[in-house]
């Protein structure tokens, strides 16, 4: 059904005189179970069609979004756009939709029949997740189980007409034990029961660390950041690598040139839309350009910004297949693995803190990358390579350039994680970073 709708909208827009047109339609089936106090607080279901329509005429740009399967309503919106766009002025970012040499292919193997089945009734899996948390020591648990099946179609005035079927599962849980809590997340296009049951297990494991409270004074510390923490902070790095962030003058990466050393040499942050198991992956971007794996940072060196055809043209680069018609974005992030087991990483830390989770990252200055973020859930104190105590709710208050340069070691095992603070899902290890500023209120 939506394949037809995209074509009809495209033809209608062209008949009105729009020169560049792209219609992206999403047919979505999605269920989310929200868990609080170890029981569902609400079960939510969405079935709908989202249309995003890119329209350009005489280098003027308008993007129209509508949730509808009614051609009449969509046509009315497109017609209205015609009167608006004629009053706009030329966009300084305008570039024609790209003609691609190689037609993109939809991603194979990114749709899981088990997830499609679970959308109809997620109650058994919900029960398993809650039960697993309790069996691993949690007093109570909160979280969500989010399941989706999406058909995404793209029709463009450059002749592309392509559809892709994907599924997705995101689960995160916060386990509580007395005054302590632990958090873990999971995101994938393909369900692995072992990996999803690790979510309540690891959340409970962190919640039930039975060490005494230790007061940590503000100062500089060596840290182990869990995949949730480095995953969250890497989202800020990836968006600073968006070509539009650079053009808008708001990116802390804009000061660097390609091949500059920006991070510890073991650190690689890449966008890999081509892996069907990663949540967010896709075979093509919103301009119809085939997606490819590319590293923003490779072995500590800045390697690439993320571009669509507009930001690429403006900066005299080539598109990296990361459209976003206006804002280039990552699809599915990965951090390269290290060589150490997690316990070996703690031994290497010797003295410092292990941070299970963080939230509320805010920047004082995005150009200089000055930020702070609040730790939450388990905050473990390490002395002589062993966990000896725990603290609560300290802050990392430093700069992204410092953080990146001070990354020293990474763990072998990678985890596919996502939650509120990780808007683009990421596969990440534990990361050891030296000499980072930590604060807390004295009052």
């Amino acid at each position: 059904m939506i394949e037809d709708l995209g074509g009809r909208v495209l033809n209608y827009a062209r008949s009105l005189g729009f020169e560049d047109v792209a219609v992206e339609t999403l047919e979505i089936k999605r269920t989310m179970v929200k868990i609080a106090n170890s029981q569902p607080s609400v079960i939510q279901l969405w079935e709908g069609i989202d249309l995003s329509i890119y329209l350009a005429k005489n280098k003027r740009i308008l993007v129209y979004n509508i949730k509808s399967d009614s051609a009449d309503k969509v046509f009315a919106g497109v017609k209205n756009a015609l009167s608006s766009i004629s009053r706009l002025e030329e966009s300084f970012l305008y570039a024609p939709l790209p003609e691609v040499d190689e037609k993109p292919k939809p991603l194979d193997g990114a749709s899981d029949p088990v997830i499609r089945e679970l959308i109809s009734d997620p109650s058994d899996l919900t029960y398993k997740l809650i039960n697993e948390a309790h069996e691993n020591g949690a007093d109570r648990v909160a979280g969500t189980l989010d399941l989706e099946s999406v058909k995404r179609c793209l029709t463009t005035s450059t002749g592309l007409d392509i559809c892709e079927d994907t599924t997705g599962i995101i689960a995160y849980m916060r386990a509580f034990s007395g005054d302590n809590s632990g958090h873990w997340g999971y995101a994938s296009r393909i369900l692995s029961e072992d990996e999803i049951l690790e979510v309540p297990r690891k959340a409970s494991e962190y919640a039930t660390v039975s060490k005494g409270n230790t007061r940590i004074e503000p100062g500089r510390y060596d840290l182990i950041l869990s995949p949730l923490v480095i995953g969250s902070l890497s989202n800020y790095i990836a968006y600073a690598a968006s070509g539009l962030s650079k053009i808008m003058g708001v990116s802390f990466l804009a000061r660097y040139r390609i091949d500059d050393d920006v991070a510890g040499e073991g650190f690689s942050l890449c966008d890999d839309p081509s892996r069907p198991d990663l949540y967010g992956s896709s075979g093509f971007d919103s301009e119809g350009v085939p997606t490819v794996r590319k590293c923003i940072i490779d072995s500590g060196r800045l390697k690439s910004f993320l571009h669509n055809s507009k930001t690429a043209a403006f900066l005299k680069e080539k598109t990296t297949g990361n459209a976003g018609w206006i804002m280039p974005h990552p699809f599915a992030l990965t951090i390269g693995k290290g060589e150490l087991e997690e316990n070996e990483l703690i031994e290497e830390l010797k003295r410092g803190l292990i941070i299970n989770n963080n939230w509320y990252t805010r920047l004082q200055n995005s150009v200089e990358g000055v930020f702070s973020t609040v730790t939450r859930d388990a905050l473990l104190v390490v002395e002589n390579g062993e966990i000896v105590g725990q603290s609560k709710r300290m802050r990392i208050a430093d700069t992204f350039p410092n953080l990146l340069k001070n990354i020293e070691l990474l763990s072998k095992r990678l985890y596919k994680v996502s939650w509120w603070e990780i808007s683009t899902a990421i596969e990440a290890p534990y990361v050891l970073v030296r000499n980072i500023n930590i604060t807390r209120p004295s009052l």
């Binding site: 106090n37 029981q39 709908g48 129209y64 509808s68 109650s123 509580f176 200089e368 000055v370 609040v374």
Partner: protein, 480 residues
Amino acid sequence: MEDLLLYAVDYARSLGAEYAEARYHRLSSMSITSRNGMIIGSGSETSEGVAVRVMYDGSLAFASTHSLKRSDVARVVEKAVSNAKAGSRLMKLKLKLSDDRMGSAAYEVKPKKSVDSVSIDDKISMHKDLFKQAQKSIRDSSVSLQSFIFNYSEELEEKIVVNSDGAYVRSATPRIEGFINIILSNPQKGTIQKWFGIGGSGGFEVIDESNLFDEVANTVGILENILLRGVEPPKDPVDLVLGSEVVGLIMHESVGHPMEADRILGREAAQAGESYVKPDQVGRLKVGNEYATVIDDPTIPGSLGFYLYDDEGVPARPKYLYYRGVLNEPLHNRSTARVFGTRSNASSRAKDFESEPIVRMSNTYLAPGDRSFDELIEDIEFGIYIKSYMEWNIDDTRWAQRYGGLEAYLIERGELTKLVRNPVIEFTTGWFFKNIVATDSNLRFYPGTCGKGEPMQGIPVWFGGPNVRLGKIKLGVAPK
């Protein structure tokens, strides 16, 4: 439309739902974004559909559809009831609703100046003129305007809410918002950045009455002065005075959020977090002094968080979250009110038709005092006035918080003197409310988009307060 919604409610009841609610919700919006006065493009959006919420044996389910066809609405009603039934076997503590007076009303916010009466040409000119205003406000040739980003947006929200307890509420609320990002740079001093905005319900008068051009000129001038002449924060503890922008944010973050009853009861524990407030402390625990009266009021005309009935059909009113330092009244929907043995205070709102209504703030502020600003600082020998911020965050129980000051001045012998660059304050909610020395009468509100819920729902709010004088604090400084 009413017939379709009543059909959805009746059909859900016929399938066994003990409670059913249907909401038609339409949002239409238009925005224009520019950088350095040059237009990037325009965006417009239409979101329209029906939301259904049902309760079966104490289990709650939500479903939505963009379709306004009876057959499609019937299908999502069936799925919602089916999900509620499936969920009920996992419910140890069954949900119930409080008994509330349901609204039967229709209202709309009438703009003084329709957005359609202002041409797109004029809206584009505003982008260019604001950029020119920023450019000409720079005095020193060593300072450059690295980035000036402006986003203008207009929106109309239309809703009809009906439920099986007799509510019928139709509403229409237009809103206008404008957000500006300014970055100045100097080769020796680095960069300085400020995000700020204006917003309210109504028409283009929100822009006309905002003094946006003066705000831009003033902000650029101050940023330039901070960049060139700002001094390091004092190292010893100093008397602290916070501006209404910072105070408003504190009211939102450390009173509004923790006084959301669903958060107190753990419903948002996974992500948005919990609260320092425990259920049995409400009405009893004193956390602040006599200046600590914090109000959430959705009925303020022209406000960004304006509404007269919530999305459960309950009539809105001002809520005194703190009253003279005591935890007084949490924000309730009908489910949390039932747990607390009270009635809903109409705090249930949904972002759009794809969102369940949850407990939300509207316009949250600290009650002002009766002093002038000069009287507030006249007997301070040495202190700091932090008027605005950039960076801020707070922990997940809403107790320990940090603000990165932007516009800040030394106070010397009762007068504002030098600008201070990047002072940082960290304190607890308890410290703030127990250490208010005085408040002035300059109540001012600021626009924001408040995030909460799963999936995340961003909703328009105001937060505000007067200037506040506090006790002594040791300042930090932003990392370099």
